[in-house]
């Protein structure tokens, strides 16, 4: 077929047309939320949202192509990946969805089949994109939570695979590809504030990517960066190193800075305005480039200037573990470690004597004024060999032990009214395999107001080969936190997800320095066993003790 000028024109026209169509259908918004938290903490939440309606997976405008392909090839419905440094405690206040320390990957697929292999390919691609370690696909840490719902999609229970790497380090190498996914990179808009050198000095830092394919055939791509700072007053140039220098990202349909939870808006310079929906903040316009936007906050009543607190990442964890152990019998509500609107309080710690046996204890307190319906997902690696018969739940009401009813609901799914019929019910047990899958248990709990449940389970530690230990073997192993998800009966309680503390488990270590000595000495013992054994059988040991026989000349030397 000859390409006539007419056909060429025709193609040009259509490609332009579809290009425009794609352009018009991708919507991109930027938002920064500044929120005051408890204990002198400030939250900076960056949200970058791209929504693509009716994607054809061929022309990409604002939606990142890598993720479009990933969704299409692996028939993904939902994907969430996060990299976090530091641990966020609920006592600072509720900030919506947050992430546990290290890396976390959640993927929901269209079908149940081949979940593990699909998850493996997805995790490899993700670690390729963000330059993280490939251990997400490791079966020893990844599993399927059946009753925890990570997204608003329906009946995702058996199609979701979850994997958490509490020890994944986070650094600028991971941030750079994350920023590159933004339409304006870090050149313009709110993302220009994100200076890697400053970011990793903060108290808590969590970046995440969330892809959702909704049923109306629209793809949403949500990039979120959570920063928690311990400051009493702040200035953009102080925290991020630079003020916000324009221009703002031209692709962004809305760029706003929102301010929440402050009592005095007058101590901000410039003073925030009403931006609709009862929100206070700024809507940034394109004419920003004339003057730098350097938001400054200094409260009028100054106590003492804490200033910028370096090196306090993780300092808070050590305090927390200790002071929470003893307040099981106290009424949790009067605790000073609780924020105003907190609905749940979580603690988790290890009880150990010696290095072989121990137990994991998880405490959940209801701080709401009505009953809470919760599911707990706890996954422990294989080298914590869980004794499921020691699984007990204790309530602080009358200090009694609660009977756990066993529901084998794996066959009948989605009957949520059944789940919370009893005060505590065991939904699922998955036993571990050596060097393989982790052991998992899922519980459904109903907590009365002010009630604390103490869930404890014992384990026996497995011993590892010296090559299986990490390079700093005496540091211990990080154990991923348990996930508590709230199942709201009423509409106002959204399905929310909380993480407990992650744990550090010490395993008995062999001597890493001298494997050859052990090998040679032990095999020598074996050798002596075989050697002297054969020697005894073939040699004539008895003859030495015996007197000389008279007829020795007739006997042939050895007839044995």
């Amino acid at each position: 077929m000859k390409h006539t000028p007419l056909t060429i024109l025709f193609f040009l026209f259509f490609s332009l047309y579809f290009g425009c169509l794609a352009q018009s259908q991708d919507k991109y918004t930027e938002a920064l939320t500044i929120k005051k938290l408890n204990k002198n903490k400030l939250l900076f939440k960056f949200d970058f949202n791209t929504i693509s309606k009716n994607p054809n997976y061929q022309n990409y405008f604002l939606f990142p192509k890598t993720f479009g392909n990933l969704v299409k090839e692996n028939s993904l419905e939902y994907l969430r990946f996060s990299l976090t440094q530091g641990m966020y405690h609920l006592k600072y206040g509720e900030i919506g969805r947050y992430s546990p320390p290290g890396g976390e990957l959640i993927a929901t697929f269209e079908t149940k089949e081949d979940l593990e292999s699909k998850f493996r390919t997805v995790s490899r691609k993700i670690s390729g994109i963000f330059g993280t370690s490939q251990k997400f696909s490791d079966l020893t840490i990844s599993a399927q939570p059946f009753y925890t719902e990570f997204n608003s999609l329906e009946s995702t229970s058996q199609r979701t695979h979850y994997s958490s790497l509490p020890r994944e380090p986070v650094c600028t190498e991971n941030l750079t590809p994350w920023l590159k996914l933004l339409p304006c990179r870090s050149k313009a808009g709110l993302a220009s504030l994100l200076n890697p050198i400053k970011l990793y000095d903060l108290f808590y830092h969590s970046m995440s990517v969330e892809v959702t394919r909704s049923q109306e055939n629209s793809l949403s791509f949500h990039q979120q960066l959570l920063l928690v700072v311990e400051l009493k007053e702040f200035k953009f140039s102080q925290i991020f190193g630079t003020p916000l220098i324009g221009p703002i990202c031209p692709f962004s349909s809305q760029t706003k800075i929102q301010i929440e939870g402050f009592s005095d808006y007058s101590s901000f310079t410039p003073t925030p305005e009403e931006i609709g929906n009862n929100q206070v903040g700024f809507i940034l316009k394109e004419n920003l480039n004339k003057k730098d936007f350097n938001l400054h906050y200094s409260p009028k009543e100054k106590t003492n200037n804490n200033g910028y607190n370096h090196n306090n990442i993780g300092n808070d964890n050590s305090n927390n573990g200790n002071d929470n152990n003893n307040n099981f019998n106290n009424n949790g509500i009067n605790d000073e470690n609780i924020s105003k609107n907190q609905s749940i309080k979580l603690n988790r710690f290890l009880k150990e004597s010696g290095k072989i046996r121990g137990g994991v204890i998880t405490q959940i307190t209801n701080l709401e004024k009505n009953d809470l319906h919760l599911t707990l997902y706890d996954s422990l690696p294989w080298f914590m060999r869980v004794y499921f018969h020691t699984l007990t739940i204790k309530s602080n009401f009358e200090n009694k032990e609660i009977e756990i009813t066993d529901l084998n609901l794996e066959s009948e799914q989605g009957n949520e009214s059944n789940l919370f019929a009893n005060q505590a019910s065991l939904l699922r047990i998955q036993t571990s395999q050596d060097h393989g899958r982790p052991s998992i248990f899922e519980l459904a709990l109903v907590l009365k107001p002010g009630e604390t449940f103490q869930i404890s389970v014992d384990y026996l530690k497995g011993f590892l080969n010296f090559e299986e230990h990490p390079f700093d073997g005496n540091r211990g192993f990080d154990i991923a936190p348990a996930i508590v998800s709230m199942h709201g009966k009423k509409q106002n309680l959204k399905k929310r997800i909380y993480y407990t503390d992650s744990l550090l488990l010490m395993l008995p270590t062999p001597d890493f320095t001298m494997p050859y000595n052990v090998m040679t000495i032990t095999t020598t013992a074996f050798l002596i066993w075989y050697g002297s054994f054969l020697n005894n059988l073939t040699g004539r040991a008895g003859l030495k003790l015996k007197k000389k026989s008279k007829a020795k000349w007739i006997i042939k030397p050895d007839k044995f």
Binding site: F388, H389, D406, F463, N465, F466, P508, D511, L537, A541
Partner: protein
Amino acid sequence: MILQLSLLLLGILLRAVTYHFGLTSVYNQKFEYVTPFTSFDNLFEAVHLMSHGTSPYGGSHFHLPPIYLWLFRWVDQDSFANWGLRIIFILIDLICCLLLFLIIKQTLGQQKNKMLNPKFERILPVAISSIYFLNPFTIASCLVFCMGNFTRLYILLSIYLALNANLVLSTFVLSLAAYTEVTPALLIIPIILLCIKQRSQLFKAKINQNKSQVKRTQEKQKEEKKQQKTKHKNSNTFLQWFLGIFLFLFWWVLLLVLSQLMFNSKFSNFKININDPNFFQHFFSNNQYFTFLKHTYFFLLNITDLTPNIGLYWYLLTETFVVFRQFLVFTLQFINVIGLIPFTIRFRSYPLFLVAVITSSITILKAYPTLADFPFLFCILVMQPKLLEKTRYRAFFIRGFQVVIGLLSPFYKIWIQDGTGNANYLFGISLSFSFGEILVLMEMIRSAMIVITNEKDKKKEKNSLQYYISTKKKKSSQRKDK
């Protein structure tokens, strides 16, 4: 008789008292008595998992074959305080003790050349069996409900039955031992040898009885009888070999199939419904044939659990590179089996000693040994007391074992509990313990060799003297003829 009964009562009393004062919880933390294979906690965990509809072998706690699950399906969390269970384990020890007594008495009766002092001989069976019954290691293993006690019982019972020339039952009991722990399967050849020897001895005894009753005058008749006897014997031994091995395998396979049937029909209920028309379909359609073998036999042979014990393997496999692991495990297990062939050939006419040697080599080279195996090993080796006279370095061994066993527990504690020492302490002491056991076994083999060579030389000397005399006579007669 009074002495024996009082000793038995003392043993039972000791166990009852230690149970009563709750020493179980103390000993249940000790690595010398509780291994991944023998732990009772793990059995209970398996029963618990089964009641929740999960595979009892999940979580790599439980490693015994399914029949034990069925036997102990009634245990619960408070089972350590259950007197029924306690009585079962006391009975196991008691039967072991009685069997040892009977075995030693019988073997002493059969030995022709009595080198021992008759007084010593009279007291020996009681002494050895009470050493087994009253020593702290056996009592401790009884306290923690050590599952290894079953294997010990089976082995002793099968030796006793073989001594009474009961081939069918002894192979059955041995197959139970092999079903539990695989490695006792190596005992099948000595057990059959023992059976054949005992049977022929019984046969001889009968003939001797007949002889005394009826006097035979004609020599021809005698010769004919002899020929018949040898013929009969040859065909009989072959039959016995065939029957023994066939029966052993038959029992073993039967037990495996039985447990597979039990295991397949849902974990929660152990009923085998043969009336079910789809029974065989269910059995064969399930792709998971004998999945429990992976968690039981493969676990034992591959030594997957590296929890410290008093054996040789755990630290070796902890410190070897993962690449060489399979090779090393295969080689060591292979040589353990192959190494027994020269033994069997050399000691084929001394089957009881062969049984003792193979049993002790199995016990020493176990993947998950407990300290309760140590008195068992001693008693098994002492079954032929005349070998004891020839062993060297007895004082050295006694002192050495005292020191080593005394140090096992502290060295474990400083590594695991206190964290003040490292793994090399425990490795060194467990290595020297196993090494000491090996040396003892070697001494026993050496003394057995001395005894055997002495016996053989005596025979040969006799024969050669006769030959010498007869040739001289012939020569002299020839000279006379000339």
